[in-house]
């Protein structure tokens, strides 16, 4: 079967060359994103619940002062192990605008678990006005939209961690625009957001040391979860599906062998 082998060789060569070119072709960014290892990675990955709680605390105490998180509701926090009572308490700690009531007036009330995360600004214009014209992006999907492209790319968490720990003194020859901050993890190295984290910016309830790196890691993991709350059920379901499909394929192969045994 010379033709068959040639065909196979051709395919192999094609796949090989394409793979090489593809790997080589992943576009270079002008920032280098350090790949960290995260507990959620891999076929059996899992979020560390304590870390998610710490990450939420960083978001609540630091990020939420400027950043909205419109796709998340307080009820979602139950999915990362907060009790119903805790969620009610967290929700009730913010005052939210509701209405109109029967008199046609808007009124304020404490938050409910079904409410979306409270946004710091009522609209985009207010957000820009409050931040020197720069719009703090919504954080719901930040981990997904900032992930690298293609095969073997860095995670969104790598990027967020890189930016949050990337604040440095600018090199002497660097021209920093007025009102901007130097950041090694950000494209162009100039970012409007001033360094949000400082040593001990939050006090962790579980006693973890709140270093900048620790807080950056925790909030990166929290934002990864927030970008895809069904992440864990996805890879769990995947494992079951894969095992089933492998069994199915083996049985189908055996059946095929049996049926074709008489044909030559």
């Amino acid at each position: 079967m010379g033709a068959k082998t040639l065909l196979l060789k051709g395919i192999t060569a094609l796949v090989g060359v394409t793979a090489i070119l593809f790997v080589a072709a992943s576009p270079k960014h002008d920032v280098h994103v350090e790949k960290e290892s995260w507990s959620f990675q891999g076929f059996f990955g899992k979020f560390d619940q304590a870390q998610l709680h710490r990450g939420f605390q960083v978001y609540k105490d630091v990020c939420s002062a400027c950043h909205s998180m419109n796709l998340l509701s307080y009820r979602n926090l139950q999915e990362i192990g907060f009790s119903e009572a805790q969620v009610k308490e967290i929700a009730a700690s913010v005052t939210t605008m509701d209405g109109p009531n029967d008199e046609g007036e808007m009124f304020e009330r404490p938050g409910k678990p079904s409410d979306r995360f409270h946004a710091p600004f009522p609209n985009e214009q207010a957000a820009r006005a409050g931040n020197n014209g720069a719009l703090p992006p919504d954080l719901s999907l930040i981990a997904r939209s900032r992930a690298g492209k293609g095969f073997g790319a860095y995670e969104g968490a790598d990027y967020i961690h890189g930016v949050l720990t990337g604040y440095k003194e600018p090199p002497a020859d660097f021209k920093l625009t007025e009102g901007m901050n130097y950041n090694e993890g950000f494209a162009g190295h100039q970012i409007a957001m001033p360094a949000p984290l400082s040593e001990g910016a939050v006090t962790y309830e579980d006693g973890t040391q709140a270093t900048v790196d620790q807080m950056a890691r925790d909030v990166s993991v929290f934002l990864t979860w927030a970008g895809e709350p069904n992440y864990e059920s996805r890879i769990r379901t995947g494992l079951k599906a894969m095992l089933f499909l492998i069994a199915f394929t083996l049985i189908a192969y055996a059946a095929k062998r049996k049926i074709w045994a008489s044909i030559h």
């Binding site: 068959k4 094609l14 394409t18 576009p27 719901s140 969104g156 069904n230 394929t249």
Partner: protein, 442 residues
């Protein structure tokens, strides 16, 4: 057409409406060449993908809102709140890629084994129509989540039509239903994205009817000469297709569960913003070769025409390749050009993916912005690859038909011994010219 069904209900219905006889005839006892290789699995896989896409799409449409203010969030609601919504969406978005993987392999199989040649020209052409419908459907579907890439992809692709002289601008306004891609555009894309798969399904039925007229081609590329060359479709090919389906689904499931967004673009997780264009606008991978052809021609109109021509040329392929030998197995020169075409398409994909002014340097095997390094620019590479693509169909195949000396072709499938013991009946049914040529070489 008179199958004997045991079940009296089926017999009663079949007597009045012979659907069961028809199915039995076309799917059960349908005689199929017995030497089909695994390359022949991809037709049924494509049919499977069409069903998966339609089923998952219908359920997604139950949850989706086609309005510029709500589309993005309604998709995220599917991902977060709808029971198994994430699964349905990942099945659908990766399904588009899988559909193209399967169909492209199916096409290359046809190209290698000459499945487009007489008497299957129309079968091939219907296939090209299917490809065009798939592309239109995929493009409009990609717009629906209303992320940045959705919006800017729609803007760039609809703007292609503005290249047409005189009517171009009016056509674009008509497509948009306004003066930019906006709510009316989203609404009509949703409507058409729902409609086209059903049209596609109809064309697939035609594709199968045309296939069953002369039956499948086969790796040897000669006609079947009687019952000794064929086996019934069921159970032989049904079970083989099941096995192929299993292998394929493992591949598909890997994407769904472990790399669901790897084939997509992270920018599409940012809601559409008509005031800011993302840095690199790239189409989905399955459009990259065509995108590269578009960009490799500096003139706007000619670029657009070249892009469309790259698909339309397939329609006339049966008349460009006049070689009487179907299968590439027996065409020593053709083989090489064929694999170069496959490689060429890979190159075009890479060219479509990268910024045109970047440089590929063969020494470091990397693609990077132009900093004076030795190498070839993406645009030049794309131009070379485009030249080969059209050269293959318009020059190489016609010339090969004249100058190539084919290897001897077996006389029948069941007797792969070259020229040994072919009966007179077999000789009569083969294309006379082809056979004469073969005999000559023997």
């Amino acid at each position: 057409m008179s199958a004997n069904f045991k079940n009296p209900v089926i017999r009663w219905i079949d007597h009045r409406l012979p659907v069961f006889s028809y199915l039995h005839h076309e799917a059960n006892e349908y005689p199929t060449p017995k030497n089909l290789s695994y390359w022949w699995n991809f037709g049924s896989l494509a049919g499977f993908m069409l069903v998966v896409m339609m089923a998952s799409g219908i359920f997604l449409a139950m949850q989706y809102t086609p309005h510029v203010d709500m589309a993005f969030n309604s998709v995220e609601r599917i991902m977060r709140d709808v029971n198994y919504g994430w699964l349905m969406r990942y099945i659908h978005m990766n399904g588009a890629s899988m559909f193209f993987v399967v169909v492209y392999i199916h096409m290359f199989r046809g190209l290698y084994f000459g499945s487009y040649k007489a008497p299957r020209e129309l079968l091939w052409q219907i296939g090209v129509v299917i490809l065009l419908l798939m592309m239109a459907t995929a493009f409009m579907g990609y717009v629906l989540p209303w992320g940045q890439m959705s919006f800017w992809g729609a803007t760039v692709i609809t703007n292609l039509f503005s290249a047409l002289p005189v009517v171009g601008k009016h056509i674009v306004t008509l497509l948009w239903g306004g003066f930019s891609v906006d709510n009316p555009t989203l609404n009509r894309f949703f409507s058409l994205h729902y409609l086209l798969p059903f049209v596609l399904l109809g064309v697939v039925v035609l594709h199968v009817i045309a296939l069953h007229r002369f039956g499948s081609n086969n790796p040897i590329g000669i006609d079947t000469k009687g019952p000794q060359d064929t086996i019934p479709f069921h159970p032989y090919y049904t079970v083989k297709d099941m096995f192929g389906l299993g292998v394929f689904m493992i591949f598909y499931a890997y994407w769904i569960f472990y790399a669901p967004v790897t084939l997509g673009d992270p920018d599409n997780f940012i809601p559409a913003n008509p005031l800011s264009t993302p840095q690199h606008i790239v189409p989905e991978w399955y459009f990259l070769p065509f995108y590269a052809i578009l960009r490799s021609i500096p003139d706007k109109l000619l670029g657009v025409l070249a892009m469309f021509a790259s698909i339309l040329v397939l329609l006339v392929l049966p008349w460009l390749d006049r070689s009487p030998v179907r299968s590439g197995r027996y065409r020593p020169a053709f083989k090489w050009f064929f694999w170069m075409l496959a490689f060429d398409c890979a190159i075009l994909t890479i060219c479509g993916k990268n910024p045109p002014d970047w440089i590929w340097s063969p020494l470091s095997l990397s693609i990077a912005p132009d900093e004076g390094q030795a190498g070839i620019s993406i645009i030049a590479m794309g131009q070379l690859a485009t030249t080969y693509y059209f050269g293959y169909f318009l020059v190489i195949l016609p010339l090969l038909s004249i100058f190539e000396k084919a290897l001897p072709v077996p006389l029948s499938i069941s007797r792969p011994v070259l020229g040994g013991g072919g009966s007179h009946a077999a000789i009569a049914s083969a294309p006379a010219k082809n056979l004469a040529k073969t005999m000559e070489k023997l």
